[in-house]
Symmetry: C2
Subunit: 479 residues, 2 copies
């Protein structure tokens, strides 16, 4: 299939803000900047997407847990790189009732320092390892940059964070690999394309050995970080003195990893498949998979409504999430607009002529193409269409993004591509910090890092210093 892409006639940021509120996903007008309300329809999308993530993690041996929100400053300060990075963007609780607290509490910006004191209690011996947990919570960052609904919040909601503990460095490395594979499967399941890159050292998570990140390209040519995987080595284990008894009776510090996906994982689904008419949801996560809309003429209303009821009941029995739209105060056109805005993947229309011919009209939300189908075969048709929509959403988004990754041979070419927001550029780089910083300054963009999703290695010369390149590094205008 040819690469097709819906038109984006609006500014992307404006489109996103509008669609969030108009489709009933998030209301961002809360009195505190950077905090939003997940509205009923948005919450249902969130529930379904998180269920995909929960199933993946549960099946891969992770236990869901729930840790406290508040962190004593003394805990946060225990890992020095960590506290330096986060203390300036924490919200601080200083009073309980009318009394000042003896030690102030940070609202978790992430939970490594919440979990560490408990790991120290729980882990005694090698038999307690590996330990794999996750929680789905809100985290808090006092952002000084402009906030944006879901994409850059002060209350980040949801934040799925996994935390694992291992006996050896090799097992932690293996877990990093597994985490990357899990996240690929998650984004594949919701049809979101990505590149996976190892962040440059200066952009890794504070307290990590290294960070691997997932980025998606937004319609405006900027990338959005949608998932991160951190190898924490023994940094937190040493800071909190978490040790285990080895098989031969010695004491060793454990090795830990953490990996997270925030509400941006949900936003990406809405953004990457959306168009001027609204969002477009993959059937697997759509709260309503099929909307059945009567298109009656005067005098024929009851026959048409009755046929719609029958079709809706049939699809419901077959296990689809169906909405039968018999609202009397809206025209069929209003209803089409309503369900398109909300991204319902399949719409079924039945009019008097359809009824006479014992057919239905099926409309795909992604392509807006209409097809006529025998009424008796409607269940099989919906199954086929649902599979096609799932496939095409993913394939189109992937092809669209792939076309926008450019291998360049000069800095001026990189700069020009980035200036016109063409996408992601790949630049041969020697890996040295000074060349990396110079590169970012020259092209006025950010290094995403060396590719982690391909074994291909590009030979060539660093476009900054001319020395042998380690590989290409991905560069983009990053949100």
């Amino acid at each position: 299939m040819a690469v097709k892409r819906q038109k984006w006639s609006k500014d992307f940021g404006e489109w996103f803000r509008d669609v969030l509120i108009n489709a009933g996903i998030m209301d961002y007008r809360y009195p505190i900047k950077g905090c939003g309300v997940w509205m009923p329809y948005g919450f249902k999308i969130r529930r379904n997407i998180l269920q995909v993530l929960r199933d993946l993690l549960d099946n891969a041996g992770h236990d869901e847990t729930l840790f406290p929100l508040m962190i004593p400053e003394t805990s946060l300060a225990q890992e020095s790189a960590h506290v330096k990075s986060f203390e300036g963007e924490c919200f601080w609780v200083t009073h309980g009732g009318f009394e000042p607290l003896k030690v102030r509490y940070a609202l978790r910006p992430t939970s490594e320092t919440v979990i560490a004191p408990m790991l120290k209690l729980w882990i005694r011996s090698h038999a307690d390892l590996p330990l794999k947990m996750y929680q789905i919570v809100n985290v808090f960052r006092h952002e000084t940059k402009a906030t944006r609904p879901i994409l850059r919040m002060r209350e980040v909601e949801p934040f799925k964070e996994a935390h694992t503990c291992h006996a050896t460095s090799e097992e932690a490395e293996q877990q990093i690999h597994e985490a990357v594979e899990l996240y690929k499967r998650f984004f594949d399941a919701v049809g979101v394309p990505y590149v996976v890159s190892r962040r440059p050292d200066w952009d890794k998570f504070a307290g990590a050995l290294y960070t691997i990140a997932f980025d998606v390209l937004c319609p405006d040519g900027r990338t959005l970080q949608i998932g991160t995987v951190h190898n924490l080595g023994q940094n937190f284990a040493k800071a909190f003195d978490i040790t285990y008894e080895t098989k031969d009776g010695g004491q060793e510090h454990i090795w830990t990893t953490s990996y997270g996906i925030s509400g941006r994982g949900i936003a990406a689904v809405l953004i990457i498949h959306g168009d001027d008419n609204g969002i477009v949801l993959p059937p697997k996560i759509a709260p309503i998979q099929v909307a059945v809309v009567p298109v009656p003429y005067k005098g024929k209303e009851e026959h048409v409504n009755e046929a719609c009821r029958t079709v809706a009941a049939k699809l419901n029995d077959a296990g689809y999430r169906v909405e039968l739209d018999l609202r009397g105060d809206l025209t069929p056109g209003n209803k089409f607009y309503y369900w398109e805005l909300r991204g319902v993947p399949i719409r079924i229309e039945i009019g008097p002529r359809d009824l006479a011919n014992r057919v239905v009209t099926i409309v795909r939300r992604d392509s807006l193409k209409k097809q006529t189908w025998k009424m008796d075969d409607v269940t099989a048709a919906v199954q086929t269409f649902a599979e096609e929509v799932t496939h095409d959403l993913k394939a189109n988004a992937a092809a669209w993004m792939k076309e926008r990754v450019y291998r360049v041979e000069s800095l001026s070419e990189a700069k020009s591509l980035l200036k016109r927001k063409a996408g992601i550029v790949e630049v041969p780089w020697c890996g040295k910090d000074e060349c990396g910083h110079s590169l970012e300054e020259t092209v006025e963009a950010r290094l995403l890092g060396f590719p982690e999703d391909t074994t291909e290695k590009v030979d060539g010369k660093c476009l900054v210093c001319g020395e042998k390149a380690v590989n290409v590094v991905r560069v983009a205008l990053a949100y």
Copy 2:
């Protein structure tokens, strides 16, 4: 069936703290007092119990939503009774990063004042009503009383709070009735007995017209408030000026209600069915419904294990949540202890003699009674036992509690019953505040309120002033 009650040889508080950590439910040793960690097994119990609650609310037309955690002090202060009650027990966020905030934020102690500003944006006309929402979140209270795991936390987790909006006082009243019925169905589903009482005026929710509460009796003779339903009248609507256009074009303030169940709803299940061996879970909410344990003799291990595998697979196929316990480092006795502690409702044991006779031994967790059953009929047997356990847990708990509600005819009788922690006493009361306070002082206990779960009205004289009683009032040692 006769009222039977497990023995509680330990102090109840000690039993509860121990079972929470030993069964892997909650670890309460977090560095901040009143904050706990939901551990993997506890989280699974929590998930299942909340699913029962979600299903009930979803089916009754409530939409799940999620509102922000932080409340500007200016919002909290808008309803005067509300702020007076809560400001002294809020945690206060005063700094973002290194900068003081212009207005400090409270961590929600409850969300009426979070939701109100959004309702003002959402509600325009009578067509927007009724509106029924809920969220499952954490709430925060800087408790000055001694904290206790789950029962009295500073981070209360989970807290399910529902909020509804209505056009008339009558519809709000009707919603209160529905909410009480929903909560009855919830507690019935998890086998927790309760009394429903209308709290005296001085003990209602701050900002409400009145509060109806659910209380359960704990094994130590104290009551635990496990659910509350508040009619908020137009108090919050007026404080936040939330109006709607009526059918005839006028503007009226809306009427609101709220109702909540906290982690205590989960604790109640653990407490009320538990015994010296651990917790006992109703099958519906048990993460593991059946534990299959081989009881091998030397040389027969593989045959016995194989039979266990077959039985476990069969039950799994029938839709039960089964754990096959083939751990090699534990004796069968250790395993029995392990699963009893965790409340697994049905245990199946298979030894060489069972195998020879093609039978299994089935042990009910509640009664610890053993029965032998044909191996081929194991699925039907498990179904029967699961139904019996469900029924008996509920019936025994209800009968036990009912026996401990005493109708008294003198204050000295009431005082003596309460002194020996016998249960709940019902005392004729005229309804006047001064007599109520005097009653509480005399019997050194708390008024739960007039019964709301019976239409029976007791004629008689107030035991304090001797005037005509409105009804009996329930009095108890309340947590």
